[in-house]
Symmetry: C2
Subunit: 684 residues, 2 copies
């Protein structure tokens, strides 16, 4: 990269220095900001930067997959949509677009990280197709890959990959969703016949919301409590055939159909109930525990709790994918809404008669551009998460399992999943509304995305539960770093260490030093525009929140047992905020890393401004917290809001390149509204 | 009302006094709040209080309308849904449930205010049905009623009411939505034949998103520029037959079908293009302007601009209804999600083994209960708006038109429409997610509501545009009250007048005096719990924002003409905030009035606590603003958040009554999930 970070930071600083505060005081008559001119950048260069290490694999999708292969007619009814999704999945599988993440011995054609990149691309098309494949290849295929051994791989993975063996991932039950350890399905060892018996002992034990269960599934990876010789070995997974070749349910298996849903009509979610179904001993996915020919239970992990979390841990890829998929759908809507806003006129300039485009309004810029900025941030964070996943999976495969990296990855997956899926729901809706009535027409491609993405907020882990998991991870790190020190002592110690080792950083130390060194030399308004200050604010938000949380948890622990529950319940919101603060910080750091790795200087300069907008709009969003905790003075808070306004104006001329850079192929947008408005108006 | 406001305020004060701040400082070991016990209240009493003056009319719906008549199967495809909505509408019309708001001479059976109440009830069932009737009775029938004269009433209203004459309201065009004055359709007087010619001169002039246009409509109330003798008299409305008895388009009329939409599948939205279509002179709705037998244009309102706004002003009912309808759908989702949360268990209490319901979690309470509180606030505000509508319409009918009341009503309608529809989109989604995967199943009734309510945010006025309209209304009031005074002088003057005549109040002076008198006697933490302080905070938020806005507009006006546009564009966000601040205040005042009028003492006491939650959660939401403007100290901000936590806990035992009080008949909920979970668990 030829243009250093300082240079581009300095640029954005210039612009903010001349900023009018959001609400100018006194007689200041010049409230118009001066816009900084940045060199125009080609959308393709930005896409290359954002794709990062996955550019080649993502570009293959753009070059080779036609819109017809990946877009569903939004008017399709449920039956039609289910059939379309199945066939579209088989087609992409045949062309090896979605065959990464499996052992190459059975037809796998790429790394785990690449399977995430594929998922992200698919989700720029249709989410039913994406989730259908997510169930088939990610969950069903992933369970066999990660929880099974060679015997299972050889027999079942080729069919899982090619879709000749459509499969289910039967974990959730009617009675228990988020609390997997309490599921009631039983897998009982029958020593007399050398088989397992799979059974749903209560109505609440019925498997529920299972993709592929209502129609296409032939086999299910069933989670249940393993009973051997009268003792429960905890949750294990077993492969159970559920339908014959003709699609008829097998004896003892009762599938149900959830029918019409709020979206994802192409995925045939259903229930499965088992009535004393017998399967051979070998069908148990026995990588982390199985019963040998002598009927003896053995496991490489002795502790039942540790075993449970190791097994669940192998499923982390699905969580990473779901977050990225939601972000892809959002990129698509942002691409449509921004292009529309560049063409659509509404009122005329008062007194001038000239019609202005929607994107000329600051209120409209503020709806879209900070979200475009955030899309870049999450994109870079996803690249890092996919690479981290690859490292953990490789370490596991080579027997180098590292508990700390695994848990860090789980925290990151949970954080990014919760953040991106929440953002997707909110932002696709913003895009729809930004297109007015036109946005509501299914032909304009946003309402289908919105409906399909909806469930992402609660499947693969409910977002509230996931954020609590993140907060617990942060507390654990905190405890590890600070041990059982007295709390007053801790507070004093940390006060001295702001910006040092309290948080685990992902940005290289040399980069950080360069950034913070710049920040300390700056005057007040320049500071608000500087990356060093942004980082400091993001870190403070996380550090202070986690510290406070640790203190409250410690106080709660001192209470009588029966009062602890109540006290811990009261910190719920605090936990959610800590998780969010953490996710914001790792996203900013990923953004910084992404810019560092951008080779094209003009792209890097523009991305740096986009990062400014991400950072300032994040601080603005939490203005209340920063003010409440004296991390922001009222005057600075106004500079922050003014800075967001100015950055929106500065990025306005680059809007088309910026959405092109989000990497959704133009042919895949296929929104009628991009054809019908003002065809004689240029897009800039 | 036997229990005075003071008594119940005092109650909530007690509870907050003992509040732990959201994040306790130092060694405070007792972080558990003490819950105040309120007498249990019957849901029916709360519903009666919330229905207010419309209790009888609303109760008739609950008693007489069966679920089958008002609920649509969410799995219906578009064609089926369209047919169902038409027939359901005709059925309710035959039973006189939706015939209010028309002259009794032609079959009307109630006041304008009652038509709003009917709309709200219908929207507790199905929104496609509601909007279908809104188009037919509210818009098409309303245009004839309000813009037409006896000739039109006698000929067309009976068919409009009975649905024998399905009609369209053809205002919006492809090229122009929010900017009605720029529509391009022409209505040209042809002196030679004594007819009008209706024409779409450009593709952009095509009428778009018109309900009833794609399939059922036989006639349209068409908005266009009236041309007489070569001069344009501005926008007028004319009735144009568009289809014959067999449903075939009439010559010169080209209807189109928007096809599948993001929701409201039961409404057949389409386009209409006119190619020199001739209609008799009498078809022009001529209450505010027409052409006489001699071909001379006459109007009771000489000024073209004033005439335009008077004509648009008569359509205010639709805007009031849409806001209320969105709120009704939200009440339905809140009723379902809260009942589910009272039954559904997730994890067990750590260490105790006892499973706890979702609503026992503070994080879950915080998702639902502040929204339940807000539902009450909006409900009381809707009652006031409906009554204000009635007064304005009666004044108009008796020739007592008051410009100021009309404009105040328009501001209020825009404010409540924007606020309630935004809230509906967000809150129905919260409810869906609060039910996890079950919430996503169409049988559980929330995703359909969400999809149908979506468009409410942008139809009948885009929310951003409406909020700007509200802000302009507030600026106008401000200017009227403060004239052209020097700004410094104004600032000083207003500083002395906090809480006095700057804002137009709707709460009776005696009530206000009682409330503020109580507030001034209170110590710091008691203050945060007191209604007087709430009111003061709500007023400050609005007053300061409007004042700042006035100053910025005045500064912008001093700039050279070509720079003004840019400067005004920069105040966009400020305008939106002012509108929101205003809406929050009038909602709080309506809540206070509603409690004043509640006869049952226990209901009033409970509603008072619900109002506390509404007020504190509103302040909490805008914490950033209050802190930034020194209206809240960090310590008080924490008391506010702690107060929300405590109030959630206090209202938890009343949750079922509170959602029953929202007035959605239990039989209309019809959500599968209320049957399937833990039938042995009591609801409390």
């Amino acid at each position: 990269m030829t243009l250093s970070t300082e240079t581009s930071t300095a640029k954005s600083t210039d612009s903010l220095t001349s900023a009018a505060p959001a609400e100018p005081r006194g007689k200041d008559s010049s409230t118009r900001p001066k816009y900084t001119l940045l060199a125009p950048v080609d959308g393709a260069s930005l896409a290359e930067a954002l794709d990062g290490p996955f550019h080649a694999i993502k570009q293959r999708w753009r070059d080779e997959v036609q819109a017809e292969e990946i877009l569903r007619d939004p008017g399709m009814g449920m039956d039609e949509a289910r059939q379309w999704a199945f066939e579209a999945m088989r087609n992409l599988s045949e062309k090896s677009f979605i065959t990464a993440g499996f052992p190459s011995s059975v037809g796998g054609t790429g790394s785990h990280a690449e399977s995430v990149a594929n998922f992200e691309m698919m989700a720029m098309g249709d989410l039913s197709l994406t989730i259908k494949s997510g169930v088939q290849h990610g969950l069903f295929g992933g369970a066999i890959t990660n929880l099974g051994t060679d015997w299972h791989h050889e027999r079942f993975l080729p069919g899982a990959i090619s879709c000749e063996l459509p499969g289910c991932f039967a974990m959730t039950e009617l009675g228990h969703g988020s609390d997997v350890s309490s599921i009631e399905t039983t897998i009982t060892w029958l020593p007399e016949s050398g088989e397992f018996e799979v059974h749903s002992p209560t109505p609440g034990a019925t498997k529920a919301y299972i993709g592929n269960a209502a129609q296409h599934g032939r086999m299910a990876a069933v989670f249940g409590q393993l009973w051997v010789d009268g003792s429960c070995e905890g949750v294990h997974t077993i492969l159970v055939p559920i339908r014959d070749e003709a699609g008829e349910p097998l004896p003892g298996v009762t599938p149900g159909d959830h029918g019409h849903k709020g979206g994802l009509l192409g995925v045939d979610n259903g229930t499965i109930r088992f009535d004393h179904v017998r399967v051979p001993r070998e069908m148990l996915l026995n990588r982390y525990g199985g019963v040998d020919e002598n009927g003896v239970y053995t496991s490489p992990i002795k502790n039942q709790n540790a075993r449970f979390f190791t097994m669940l841990g192998t499923l982390v890829r699905g969580r990473i994918c779901v977050g990225g998929g939601a972000a892809s759908a959002t990129r698509r809507s942002l691409s449509i809404a921004t292009r529309y806003a560049l063409r659509r006129t509404q009122f005329r300039k008062p007194g001038l008669g000239e019609e202005i485009t929607l994107l000329d309004y600051l209120t409209h810029q503020r709806k879209l551009l900070p979200n475009v900025a955030r899309a870049y941030g999450y994109g870079f964070a996803m690249n890092e998460a996919a690479q981290a996943l690859q490292q953990v999976m490789e370490a596991n495969a080579s027997g180098q399992h590292d508990d700390r990296s695994s848990r860090a990855l789980e925290t990151r997956a949970a954080a990014l999943k919760a953040a991106q899926t929440r953002w997707a729901n909110d932002t696709i809706q913003v895009c729809r509304e930004a297109c007015g009535g036109a946005g509501y027409m299914s032909a304009n491609q946003m309402t289908l995305s919105r409906q399909d993405a909806d469930i992402f907020a609660t499947f693969e882990g409910d977002n509230t539960v996931l954020n609590q998991l993140v907060a617990k991870g942060l507390l654990l790190d905190y405890k590890r770093n600070w041990g059982e020190m007295d709390m007053r002592g801790t507070a004093q110690a940390t006060a001295k260490m702001v910006g040092s080792a309290v948080l685990e950083r992902t940005v290289a130390r040399t980069v950080l030093e360069r950034i913070t060194a710049t920040a300390t030399r700056l005057s007040e308004p320049d500071l608000v525009a500087s990356r060093g200050w942004h980082l400091e604010m993001f870190e403070e938000r996380e550090r202070h929140t986690v510290e406070g949380l640790a203190r409250r948890m410690r106080n709660a622990a001192k209470l009588p047992k029966e009062e602890q529950y109540e006290a811990i319940s009261l910190v719920g919101e605090h936990m959610l905020f800590a998780a969010r603060a953490h996710t914001e910080r790792i996203t900013l750091e990923a953004f910084i890393n992404g810019i560092e790795q951008t080779k094209d200087a003009n792209s890097a300069a523009l991305l740096n401004k986009v990062c400014d907008l991400f950072a300032l709009s994040s601080i603005e969003q939490d203005k209340g917290w920063f003010l409440e905790h004296n991390r922001l003075s009222p005057a600075r808070a106004k500079l922050v809001s003014g800075g967001v306004d100015i950055l929106c104006g500065e990025l306005r001329p680059h809007a088309l390149s910026l959405v092109e850079g989000l990497g959704v192929p133009e042919a895949w947008l296929r929104a009628d509204l991009l054809e019908m408005v003002d065809p004689d108006v240029d897009e800039q």
